[in-house]
């Protein structure tokens, strides 16, 4: 029983870490003015994803 609880706790923590990874990935696509070249991770896929969901043309 204790082992099951322990595994459940670990699974919940792993799920939380996955949540954190998603947030960090979304953050990579959202930072303004960060040049893609020279960054350790290619930013383009993150920025494209961000643009698809969180960008619309300005229409005043």
């Amino acid at each position: 029983m204790t082992s099951l609880r322990s595994r459940l706790r670990t699974a919940k923590l792993a799920l939380y870490c996955l949540w954190l990874a998603c947030i960090l990935a979304l953050t990579l696509g959202a930072l303004p003015y960060v040049p893609a070249d020279g960054f350790v991770i290619p930013l383009e896929p993150f920025q494209s994803f961000n643009k698809a969901f969180f960008y619309r043309d300005y229409a005043y």
Binding site: I23, T27, L31, P32, Y33, V34, R56, Y58, Y60
Partner: protein, 640 residues
């Protein structure tokens, strides 16, 4: 780094730093003096000066905010009387410092307390220490980045209007932005002091740096709030990280806008909300101060008018729900205080400038410039999409005009709400603040659904984060691994933001410092301004095909304003309604214009690069291809 440390840059930056320190100290002294007028009770309440609280909780920040608001309102009144002159401002500010000194010794400098504060600032644990260290590094980096060219809005109005005040000594309306003058200018008044005391160049650097001081005050106020809500050092540092990684906040810290001042006032209004914190029981004074600060927040950022009544009113109602009479009394006092503050800081100014005190909400005169309060930024489909992506859009959105977002740290901590942090006494207070803010956010989404810029409604985004932080507090006590994971993820967010600020420094700070050292071609706007300074006289007639006028020197800006023909449309407006057979160059010859400043992005036209009319020589100077140009016009003698 060597680019930054060169004589010309130092000659600008060092006096600017001294000027900002001097002004901030005078502001603090003003708050210090005011606190004496507020009698013993407010002092005993512990939010102005407190002997009973720990040194960290001691609130020079609230004293600073009080002084900031009072001095800004006073400066605005002085501008109406034509008293924005260095020989008036300097004795005034020195008098405030000396007055505070004579009354109770000079206000203690913050760094005199640092030794004591060090012990209460550094959190326990390696992860928390790492977080604190990275936040401090980020905040210092932010100070460096304030040394940069301002953004478009700042060049157009936020910095241009106070520069014109400093140039003319009075509240002279900035051509083309007269409608903005129907709003209060208390957030811009410190800029006027910077320009009046520092001149065009030093004033420019000092004005931008002065907002960083406001950013520090903001952090300090949040620190005080969190500590009074019973948060540990680790948790409080997490809130610091959240603020320092909110690009909506950091962008306006360095780009010359003044939005942070409104947030600073709003935060002080929350701190003084009667009954929220132990020191603000049923005394009338916190209600007076809270109402006054709420009004100042609205005057500094008018959009807060839609949200602050809910952010402040609902927590007040929830705190005093069992004593309705006390609630009514306190709310009544706060409202009276707010009305009195609005009368002095807004309506009086409008009455003097336009004879129309309640404009733009209630306009009686046809001559009063109209201000568009009902902004629409996107079409219906896009607006619907934006609302569907709330609240994630507030963090990850990159919509045009959005200008940054709220830090992702709120999402990192969102699962901590499962610990139900509102069950404690402090947690309840944080919950009330959060509920008020969430209602405020819904009101904003209803009234201005397409206006997604967080800078228009900062308080409703920042205030609920206090509750999240108390959730982290529960994790620290009950689920340590979760708290550690959250802290490490937050450190990564801070590092990403650090990388972002380094990129900003590379594309703004370093090129500007090189341009100041004499290198041409790196900062187009600076180069164009330098060329204009060198070539044009104070009486040159300049046609602005650009939204910006901050780059004109103070005498130029004053004469540019005066040279416009009274009771006639502005030169730039006349340029929009030429006859079919007339080009802008024909108009330039007729109106004896000497220079045309041309920004193609906003003012593109096709009659500039044509054969000039006889009698006019045109020299075209390009500063950024297809973006920034300067046309130097010379009339031949026979026609001049």
């Amino acid at each position: 780094m060597t680019t930054l440390i060169n004589p010309r840059v130092i000659a600008l930056v060092l006096p600017a730093i001294i000027l900002v320190i001097f002004y901030s100290y005078a502001v603090w002294s003003a708050g210090f003096l005011l606190s004496f007028l507020l009698a013993e009770k407010a002092r005993a309440n512990g939010l102005l000066f407190s002997a009973t609280l720990s040194p960290v909780a001691l609130s020079p920040a609230t004293v600073y905010v009080l002084g900031h608001a009072a001095l800004s309102i006073l400066l605005q009144l002085m501008a109406l009387m034509g008293l924005i002159r260095w020989y008036i401002l300097l004795p005034l500010l020195l008098g405030l410092i000396l007055g505070a000194g004579l009354l109770q010794g000079l206000p203690p400098l913050p760094w005199q307390k640092l030794t004591v504060m060090r012990q209460t600032l550094i959190p326990q644990g390696l992860a928390a220490k790492g977080l604190a260290f990275s936040v401090v590094a980020l905040v210092l980096l932010l100070a460096m980045v304030t040394f940069s060219m301002p953004g478009t809005d700042a060049l157009a109005y936020y910095m241009a209007q106070p520069k014109l005040m400093a140039a003319t000594g009075a509240y002279t309306l900035l051509p083309r932005y007269e409608n903005f003058a129907t709003l209060p200018a208390i957030a811009e008044m410190p800029y006027a002091v910077m320009y009046a005391l520092g001149g065009s160049a030093i004033g420019f650097v000092a004005a931008k740096l002065s907002i960083w001081v406001v950013f520090i005050a903001l952090l300090w106020l949040l620190w005080v709030l969190m500590r009074k809500l019973g948060a540990s050092l680790t948790t409080t540092w997490m809130l610091m990280a959240l603020v320092a990684t909110s690009t909506a906040i950091t962008l306006v810290t360095w780009d010359g806008k003044t939005d942070l001042i409104g947030l600073m006032y709003a935060l002080t209004a929350i701190l003084w909300l009667p009954g929220l914190l132990p020191q603000t029981a049923t005394s009338h004074k916190p209600a007076w101060l809270s109402g006054c600060m709420a009004a100042c927040a609205v005057m500094a950022k008018v959009s807060y008018l839609s949200i602050l009544p809910f952010c402040l009113g609902l927590p007040l109602l929830l705190i005093w729900r069992k004593q309705p009479l006390v609630f009514l009394r306190l709310a009544g006092i706060a409202c009276l205080s707010a009305i009195a503050t609005l009368a002095v800081g807004w309506w009086l100014k409008n009455a003097v400038l336009f004879g129309d005190p309640f404009t733009p909400f209630l306009t009686f005169r046809e001559t009063t410039p109209g201000f568009n309060l009902s902004q629409v930024w996107f079409d219906a489909d896009s607006t619907r999409w934006i609302l569907q992506t709330y609240p994630l859009a507030l963090t990850f959105g990159n919509y045009p005009l959005q200008h940054g977002g709220l830090s992702p740290i709120w999402l990192i901590l969102a699962p901590a709400l499962l610990t139900k942090p509102w069950q404690t006494a402090h947690g309840k207070k944080a919950l009330y603040i959060a509920l008020g803010s969430i209602v405020g956010l819904f009101i904003w989404m209803t009234l201005r659904p397409s206006v997604i810029a967080p800078r228009y409604f900062f308080p409703v985004l920042i205030f609920p984060c206090c509750l999240l932080m108390l959730g982290l507090e529960q994790w620290l006590q009950q689920k340590r691994p979760w708290a550690t994971a959250a802290i490490f993820a937050s450190i990564l967010v801070v590092m990403l933001n650090g990388y972002y600020l380094v990129s900003v420094a590379k594309i703004t700070t370093l090129p500007l410092s090189k341009s100041i050292s004499g290198v041409v071609g790196l900062t187009p706007l600076w180069d164009r301004a330098a060329a204009l300074r060198k070539r044009a006289s104070n009486n040159s007639r300049i046609l602005l095909l650009s939204y910006s006028s901050e780059f004109l020197t103070q005498p130029m800006l004053a004469s540019f304003t005066l040279l416009e023909t009274p009771n006639q449309p502005l030169l730039s407006e006349r340029a929009l309604s030429l006859r079919d057979d007339e080009t802008i160059l024909d108009m330039a010859l007729r109106e004896k214009i000497d220079y045309i400043v041309y920004d193609t992005i906003t003012h593109r036209r096709d009659d500039l690069d044509v054969t000039p009319p006889p009698g006019l020589n045109v020299e075209k100077l390009e500063y950024a291809k297809d973006v920034y140009y300067l046309y130097a016009l010379k009339r031949q003698e026979s026609t001049s």
